[in-house]
């Protein structure tokens, strides 16, 4: 029998670990959606990041993997930006196409590089780093402050993105492109450039999220391994009310729902864990439906 405190601590640590790629991807999506761009290519960009991280880590260590992951996802984001912003094509269709392309490309490249067998790769991963003092806090310390570096990057990114969005002129311009496209344009804002930059930033976060998934959580690559995490991240942005801090809470909530299954396994409870995986989605539906709290999307989200 595991002691309750150890169990709680393990649950929180698993929550944070599972939430990290979701939080990174959702933070990036918050930036692009605030500028009015809904990026359904997020799933594909994470997947591309995951494979690039695998290839990079095999070739030159985990940090090479992280850099390659960001580059690969930004490249996909650039293609998305050309079609959805440059050519003003429908964002939903363009994003779906990007994800389709990424599924195909990663599958093909993976099989070319490692063979169809898909034997478990052993990659150099990013080990947890204990932060001095903070990691000594009981229960919360090990959960939040003995984690791999991507988790810290995600936790730092949240207030930084909030500050940029709501306390800087650049953030004001970015939100203007999402809330009042026509007015922003009339005021002389080059909205296409603003949206492209926001989309590329979102892509960089998605790449980092993919790298975190491979190098700090799973430790190997498998085809379609993102398994809908990109779409979950989009739901997280909605549940978080398009606000960085709300998004962080929502990401932890989704992480907790997944982490609960480990608790149940160690307690030997016979409740199907899939039941809990459903709860955050129900919450998201309620939030969008205006039952829990009130969230509103940027007014010109998805409009060219």
């Amino acid at each position: 029998v595991t002691e309750p405190v150890t169990l709680l601590s393990g649950f929180l640590a698993a929550t944070v670990r599972v939430a990290t790629p979701l939080l990174l991807a959702a933070t990036g999506e918050t930036v692009s959606e605030r500028s009015g761009v809904i990026n359904l290519g997020l799933e594909g960009m994470m997947l591309a990041g995951a494979l690039a991280a695998t290839l990079g880590a095999t070739a030159g260590g985990p940090w090479t993997g992280v850099v390659l992951a960001i580059l690969a996802a930004v490249l996909l984001a650039a293609v998305f930006a050309v079609v959805a912003i440059g050519a003003r094509a429908d964002q939903i269709i363009a994003g779906t196409a990007i994800t389709l392309a990424a599924v195909g490309l990663t599958g093909t490249i993976y099989r070319e590089a490692y063979g169809a067998g898909g034997a478990g790769l052993s990659l150099p991963t990013l080990a947890p780093v204990a932060l001095p003092l903070l990691s000594k806090i009981p229960v919360i310390g090990p959960a939040f402050f003995i984690q791999p570096v991507p988790t810290y990057l995600a936790l730092v990114a949240v207030p930084v993105v909030w500050w940029i969005l709501f306390r800087t002129r650049a953030g004001l311009v970015l939100r203007a492109a999402g809330e009042g496209l026509a007015m922003a344009r009339a005021a002389g804002v080059r909205t296409s450039v603003v949206r492209a930059v926001a989309t590329l930033a979102g892509g960089a976060f998605a790449g980092l999220a993919g790298a975190a998934l491979v190098l700090a959580q799973v430790g190997t690559f498998a085809e379609k391994m993102t398994a809908g995490r990109g779409y979950v991240a989009i739901a997280i942005v909605v549940l978080g009310g398009w606000h960085p801090f709300g998004v962080a809470v929502a990401a932890l909530l989704f992480g907790a729902a997944t982490a609960l299954q480990y608790v149940f396994q160690s307690l030997g409870l016979a409740v199907p864990y899939q039941l809990f995986l459903m709860f955050p989605y129900v919450l998201t539906l309620l939030a969008v439906g205006g039952v829990v709290g009130r969230v509103r999307a940027p007014a010109d989200l998805g409009k060219g």
């Binding site: 293609v79 079609v83 050519a87 003003r88 094509a89 429908d90 939903i92 269709i93 363009a94 779906t96 196409a97 990007i98 994800t99 389709l100 392309a101 599924v103 195909g104 490309l105 599958g107 093909t108 099989r111 070319e112 169809a116 085809e223």
Partner: protein, 109 residues
């Protein structure tokens, strides 16, 4: 009206799932659908949301995915490569649409 449309669309999606189990795979397992739902969105949008168009784009994508298996057996090209082809088709149509729109705007002006 929107609610009726959503209900109808849900019914059709359920039918698709039922047909997949009862007529194609003959088994129920987790993650039964390899992304059919999302591909379905692409198929519908590519047909510019016209029912008869969906017939054409649906058959096109079906042929592509059916051909992918043969491609893997005969030529050793991974079947997943077909998604790249689908994506390129969608992106090219989007860009062509955008170009046509720009021309018509210029013609009007």
């Amino acid at each position: 009206m929107a609610a009726v449309a959503l209900l109808g669309s849900g019914a059709l999606a359920g039918l698709a799932g039922g047909v997949e189990v009862a007529g194609v795979s003959y088994a129920l397992f987790q993650n039964l659908s390899p992304g059919y739902g999302f591909t379905g969105i692409a198929v519908a949008l590519l047909a510019r949301l016209r029912p008869l168009g969906v017939l054409a784009t649906g058959v096109l994508f079906g042929a592509l995915e059916a051909g992918a298996g043969a491609m893997q057996r005969e030529a050793g090209v991974p079947a997943v490569a077909v998604y790249v082809v689908e994506a390129v088709v969608i992106l090219v149509v989007l860009l062509a649409d955008a170009a046509t729109r720009r021309q018509s705007v210029q013609a009007a002006a």
